[in-house]
Symmetry: C2
């Protein structure tokens, strides 16, 4: 039984009153970190076959193009550098790394209420990507994305309960200099949200200045290292089976700076990965295992997220797609591999190929988001706002994604079966001498907040009510919500002294 005591007098007014009172966190129908795992596209045999094939790939094929430092680190740990320049990794070394690797990772928020505890099948949804365009709903236009757009995305994410982290979704194309772009990205994200942030670095030399800024924001290096609230999304491989030389060096710098890393392998099935779902998963797993060996050879147990992100391809055109059923399977299958290893992992879901937040965008984003959650993916990246197969980002769509993901999370929460929920006594009371319906029962009222997810913008009016309120348009509603969020000051703004210090040290493009 819950200890929530809504009015028992029944009726619509009572229900509305009960609903209006805010719920304590533990009573919310959905929250970050609920456990999935009820959807298992791979059998245990499938999982083991994929694992062994990935080990074969590492032993027999290995990875090319490690930087000299990486060669040293990996061969020092027991990997073998071949005459062909490829580094091959024996099974024992992989098993050794798996034994050392971090199995529970906390991704900190600047506000501890937003800390994400990654383990098992706990599910978190957030943004990600490197879109180069913003979708302007009103003009049905794609335009270059800017730093202000990124800051706005961060402020919107801060307001959305079901978006649990902000990984930088767009590139600030109005900041031409690479170094300035990277640290302005850090600034814009941190100035907009207190949730955990992910970002990328364009080159090894942009890491140190960005870390310096993070120390300022944290209030010192010790505070940063105690609760690193930003992780590095690191494309450490160029599939198939090649290290991304520069990104590996970035990774080494980030590890030294105490920053969690996302080991991101983004192959495209049919182009840079095999065209089969199973083959693309094998290759992504092999690549991420190589990354895990690399990280744990530097600092055993350093927080590293197993980032198997295989993407789909439209084989007719050779262009990427992210909204397909194949994509949903790729992502869900990867989640099972993470669980097999017991290592926190992430993959991409929620992507739409549609250019606009239309019906196609809805079905595509839900398909992979709900299956990723049910598969128990720890970090669902790209979960909201992503259009045009990752080329476009849309603020209105991000806001609507909050409703969409709330619904997916309700599915992740699943079905509670116990004596109370099976409700035999209630059925008896209602049917035998009772009112013949359940509308006014105390059990119904007690469940209306804790068990049901209500959409913020999704419409549930009757056709008659809908006509009476002027047939509201979903995208217009999202636009008004966006305007409201952006008209209010950021909840994450820095202390003025800190901001002044940052602006003195760095060339910050966002206005004060």
């Amino acid at each position: 039984m819950t200890d929530l005591s809504p009015p028992r007098s029944g009726g619509r007014a009572a229900r509305r009153a009960a609903r209006a009172s805010a719920l304590p966190d533990h009573m919310r129908p959905v929250r970050p970190g609920m456990s999935g795992g009820t959807y298992k596209p791979l059998s245990q045999t499938d999982i083991e076959n994929i694992h062994h094939t990935a080990l074969d790939a590492l032993e027999q094929i290995g990875l090319a193009d490690a930087p000299p430092s990486g060669v040293e680190i990996l061969t020092g740990a027991g990997a073998i550098l071949g005459d062909d320049g490829r580094i091959r990794i024996p099974r024992a070394l992989v098993e050794d790394a798996l034994a050392k690797a971090a199995r529970e990772i906390t991704l900190f928020g600047r506000d501890p209420a937003h800390d994400l505890h990654l383990s098992g099948t706990r599910v978190h949804y957030g943004t990600a990507g490197a879109a180069v365009s913003m979708v302007d709903i009103d003009g049905r236009n794609y335009r270059d994305s800017t730093l202000q757009d990124l800051f706005d995305a961060a402020r919107i994410v801060e307001r959305l309960d079901n978006i649990h982290f902000l990984q930088r979704p767009i590139v600030a194309r109005d900041v031409a200099d690479m170094l300035e772009m990277d640290y302005n990205t850090v600034y814009a994200c941190c100035a907009g949200t207190l949730k955990h942030i992910g970002t990328s670095f364009s080159a090894p030399e942009t890491v140190a200045p960005s870390i310096e800024m993070l120390h300022m924001i944290a209030g010192g290096e010790d505070k940063w290292r105690a609760r690193p609230f930003m992780s590095n999304s690191n494309c450490f491989v160029v599939p198939p089976m090649k290290f991304a030389t520069e990104a590996c060096i970035v990774m080494e710098h980030c590890i030294a700076a105490g920053m969690p890393v996302l080991l991101l392998s983004a192959g495209m099935a049919g182009a840079t990965a095999p065209s089969t779902v199973a083959g693309a998963i094998v290759q992504a797993v092999a690549e991420c295992l190589a990354g895990l060996v690399y990280v744990n050879a530097i600092v055993p147990g350093h927080p590293a997220i197993f980032g198997t992100w295989p993407f789909g391809l439209d084989l007719r055109s050779g262009a990427m797609t992210g909204g397909s059923g194949e994509q949903a399977l790729l992502t869900a299958g990867c989640a099972q591999m993470h669980q097999f290893y017991g290592i926190p992992g992430g993959a991409a879901a929620g992507i739409s190929d549609s250019k606009l937040p239309d019906m196609q965008a809805g079905w595509e984003a839900m398909c992979s988001n709900v299956t990723a959650g049910l598969a128990g993916l720890n970090m669902v990246y790209e979960a909201a706002g992503m259009h045009a197969s990752l080329l476009g980002f849309c603020h209105e769509s991000l806001i609507l994604g909050d409703d969409l993901i709330g619904q997916a999370q309700r599915c992740v929460r699943g079905i509670e079966v116990n004596e109370e929920t099976m409700a035999l006594d209630q059925i008896r009371d209602v049917c035998m001498g009772g009112p013949g319906h359940y509308l006014g029962t105390s059990q119904t009222l007690a469940r209306m907040q804790s068990d049901y997810v209500y959409p913020q913008l999704g419409d549930r009016t009757s056709p008659k009510e809908w006509a009476e309120i002027g047939k509201p348009d979903l995208l217009e509603k999202a636009g008004r919500r966006k305007d409201m969020y952006l008209s209010e000051p950021s909840k994450a703004q820095f202390d003025p002294a800190v901001d002044a210090q940052i602006r003195q040290t760095f060339n910050i493009y966002l206005p004060r």
Copy 2:
């Protein structure tokens, strides 16, 4: 390996040519009756607890309001009529009925290519409902649904590969007389599609004339009885735990006429069923078990679909909702109960609460459709076209539903893991001395048709291409597709002599 041999010369033109050639049925990436079952929201213990609680409900609470014939049939089989008028069903009688019940059911199409074989976790998607309005996209209007709308829906369903059956989705409100409405509904559905059809009868007296018409269409009673291509969607209960007196008599008539029945229990969680997902499933299971006892006491093994259709409710307003995460859980949980009993079953998914085919409609329809399929629901009813929590039906949305369900089916098909799909040899060839990518490999070309589902109307262009082709609107594309389908003669039209005979006997409202 597949025996499909696309051109090996590679390149976009070759890929397009390979795609353009029609695939033989067994090579299609998705088809009716693929097996789901990888998503299991209920544990085995949950399932058994629900089963035993449903048995308790039948033994202790029972069902009221059986017609005199039903009382005779049920008590004759061993049920107990209480002083309170409720019929209670001992466990042994339920087990007896389960032992006799049809475990494999073929729902015939007029074209045998459309036969549906229901068993295990085989999944089929189709329409259903009793919407009273049509959604007019252009004017954003709801208007009364007509017989012509129903005929049009049938003709559209006939053209959509991923809509496997037509259960009557709308009420022909322009036919005032009950008897005329029922047989005109039969006529309009049969004149529009050769796929299996489901319909309802408003009263016992409309069954015989409709059956007479079906005999004419089939070419005689013997042909009808050999391949009954229409089933009766029968709301035999008024939840909670009351028989629908008249509908039970309709059911008796349909069984006598050799028509399969869908035992439909449509409780609303929080109103006519407990507000908890588990409680609503318990009650629906109990009610459908009572129906199964009833049917099998009349004709053992008569084809009867276990129709646990619990719906969600917005507890704030007391109005029905069909697009929620709770709805997806209700439906998926029911699918597992059908599998536990080994009895073919159906439930509702794909419903949107939105008034229009917008982003909300997309995410709502996908959420329950993909989870229902993954749960292995045999008959996914209401899967396409349904808006406003079942009050509105939309032809354009039905057409878009074909894309949406194709994607859900791709998820149902799942991940094939074997030596070929894991592609170790291919990875080796590509990485070690090979081209470094998979675009031109024979394996990639061989998979591009058999493994990948391509949307018919969903857009995958790049933003640049999209702008160049005039930024096509999804709903306009669906509208053009609808116009095309409806401009062509029905593929299911009757032989002129049969049509003349029908029109002589019945007052048919559709023009010749």
